[in-house]
């Protein structure tokens, strides 16, 4: 895909495309499709690019207690790109925040799992869905932690289309001003927004330079390689400076379903046809 600005990333983008998913990643994707099949709809591409990021965060970094979701000392994770909520629901259910069976009721009239996450869901910190809200809320939480003397961290995961929103950059400037070293911005850089390529719709390159210019210590990684994710989150955690962190995760929209990968048509789907479900099953197994 051609774009105006040459990408200069240390991460090999071919390796991102080729990343092989392990059993756990495929299991989490099956949970996502369990919800989509029962709910009759869902944002597919935007959830599939997130799975490894959220999985690694909850498996290894985000301090949490599924039995006590409001634990005061917990780390806060905000999924600012709320339309990727199926990945978060899969991980939260898998970790025991709520029963896996709730996934079967996704978007049902009386389910707490809607098409965008709300705080009625155990483990969800903020109602998101309108884009460009999460980083400001996250920095407020980071300031609250500082005022209350808590050492917990705040993670905010945003989409690459979402960062078109001006409010994201208002928040970035503010996080820099307050030296919020307890705040980490994570960008799901799958390079496709709803209408098409981010390089055609609204190019944000040079992206790493932008975050650096806004005062963040920038890291990047292959967002589907769990070892690379762990390594970079460890490096980011070990960074001792007083700047907020930004982790650019190179990902593939629709990762794990070849027909959906890099395909804007799989951004959101209603009523998957039997042939499409067959494509999903053959990609993920059952």
């Amino acid at each position: 895909m051609k774009h105006k600005t040459a990408l200069k990333y240390a991460t090999d983008l071919d390796l991102v495309q080729q990343a092989v998913l392990d059993d756990r990643s495929r299991h989490l994707r099956r949970l996502i499709f369990r919800a989509i099949e029962n709910g009759g709809r869902g944002h597919i591409g935007p959830a599939l690019s997130l799975v490894e990021i959220i999985r690694v965060l909850y498996d290894d970094f985000v301090r949490h207690d599924p039995a006590n979701p409001k634990w005061r000392e917990r780390d806060r994770f905000i999924l600012s790109k709320g339309h990727g909520c199926l990945a978060l629901y899969a991980v939260l259910a898998d970790r025991g925040f709520f029963d896996l069976g709730e996934l079967d009721r996704f978007c049902h009239f009386d389910s707490f799992l809607g098409g965008h996450p709300e705080t009625v869901v155990p483990g969800v910190e903020a109602c998101t869905g309108a884009l460009g809200h999460g980083l400001s809320i996250g920095l407020g939480m980071a300031l609250a932690a500082r005022m209350q003397g808590r050492d917990n961290k705040v993670y905010v995961l945003m989409g690459d289309g979402e960062i078109n929103e001006g409010s994201v950059w208002e928040a970035a400037a503010c996080a820099d001003k307050h030296h919020l070293s307890n705040l980490t911005a994570i960008i799901d850089y799958n390079k496709i927004q709803s209408a098409g390529s981010v390089f055609e719709i609204q190019n944000m390159e040079p992206l790493a330079d932008k975050w650096t210019a806004f005062g963040f210590r920038v890291f990047e990684c292959n967002g589907h390689d769990v070892d690379d994710l762990r390594q970079v989150f460890r490096e980011a955690a070990a960074y001792a400076g007083d700047r907020p962190r930004a982790i650019i995760c190179h990902t593939v929209k629709g990762k794990g379903i070849p027909a959906a990968e890099n395909n804007p048509d799989w951004h959101h789907k209603s009523d998957l046809k039997p042939a499409e479900l067959q494509i999903v099953r053959s990609a993920l197994g059952s």
């Binding site: 903020a126 400001s136 407020g140 939480m141 005022m147 409010s167 208002e170 503010c174 001003k177």
Partner: protein, 315 residues
């Protein structure tokens, strides 16, 4: 009223460690004493209203009570989605203090005139909308905000407004205040007003009473939740209802009163007339008082409107 409101933030901060102040590029040294005493709970942020609202939400989610202050148009229009979602959907105790409700900034023109702030704030579920009439009442409101569990919009007047409120009439969020003593509650005209328009209405009530017109006046410092019981009761005992507000006639106090009477009044609806800002942006500068006079909701305009409508009823 503005100074009292901000001084009260400092007072509340002394009383309760959950209180935080967040300003968006306001005057230098604003709340300087609070900044000195509680530097960690004093934030003067940039010109970034959307961010400031989200930041306040994040703090409130972790137990703080942020008082956010900037010009009324900016704190309502500019960041409406943040107010709706970050504050109202999460039902957080964040207080929005809007400088210059109505025509306070008349010399600065329409970009700075908050003429629909009550309407748009009122349309949001869980939002409480207040417009007190003077500095003393502001003290009572600010006292009450500490334990109110929902977001609040606090509309400010110009400052230096005459003090007409009385402590003995009490104060509770959501409770209208009878401004004129009356044994039976019956009246020829029921004036219902909010903010500094209450001062104008009270003045008009004086000149009308001098001519034997029985006036009752409800001051509605809380437009939402509206004191429906008081309004319905008073409306059932009058010949004419006149609402007065320094706000667009679309969606503000007058609309709220009409909706309530339409929904709740079981008997015949008395004529209800609305005074306020017509559906237009100001075409003049000058002063707040001059624009209120121009749109005929100053004391003189209210007096004239009451006499005219009562005369129509007699015909």
């Amino acid at each position: 009223m503005r100074k009292r409101s901000l001084d009260m933030v400092h007072t509340l901060a002394k009383r309760d460690e959950r209180v935080v102040f967040i300003g968006s590029d306001l005057s230098p040294n604003l709340l300087g004493e609070m900044k000195k005493e509680f530097p960690s709970r004093y934030y003067m942020e940039g010109i970034a209203e959307a961010n400031v609202i989200g930041m306040a939400a994040g703090m409130a989610m972790d137990g703080f009570i942020p008082y956010v202050n900037t010009i009324a148009t900016f704190i309502t229009r500019r960041c409406y989605e943040q107010v709706a979602i970050d504050l109202c959907l999460h039902d957080l105790p964040v207080r929005l203090i809007g400088n210059g409700g109505g025509y306070v900034y008349a010399p600065l023109g329409p970009t700075h005139e908050a003429i629909e702030d009550i309407a748009i704030m009122r349309a949001l579920p869980r939002m409480t909308v207040t417009a007190v009439c003077d500095a003393d009442e502001m003290t009572r409101l600010m006292d009450a905000t500490l334990d109110w569990p929902h977001p609040i919009y606090i509309r400010l007047g110009k400052g230096g407004d005459p003090v007409i409120s009385k402590a003995e009439r009490g104060f509770a969020i959501g409770k209208a205040i009878d401004m004129i003593d009356s044994e039976t509650g019956a009246s020829d005209v029921l004036l219902i007003s909010t903010g500094v328009a209450t001062t104008q209405a009270l003045k008009a009530a004086g000149s009308l009473a001098a001519d034997g017109i029985r006036c009752r006046q409800l001051h509605v410092h809380t437009v939402k939740p509206l004191d429906a019981d008081a309004i319905v009761d008073a409306a059932s005992k009058t010949k004419l209802v006149l609402t007065v507000e320094e706000h667009s006639v679309i969606g503000g106090l007058g609309s709220a009163v009409l909706e309530t009477l339409s929904d709740r009044l079981t008997g015949a609806l008395p004529p209800v007339k609305r005074l306020g800002i017509p559906d237009k942006f100001a075409e003049h500068y000058g002063s707040q008082a001059k624009l209120m006079e121009d749109f005929r909701f100053d004391a003189k305009g209210i007096d004239a409107a009451v006499r005219k409508h009562l005369a129509e009823l007699r015909r």
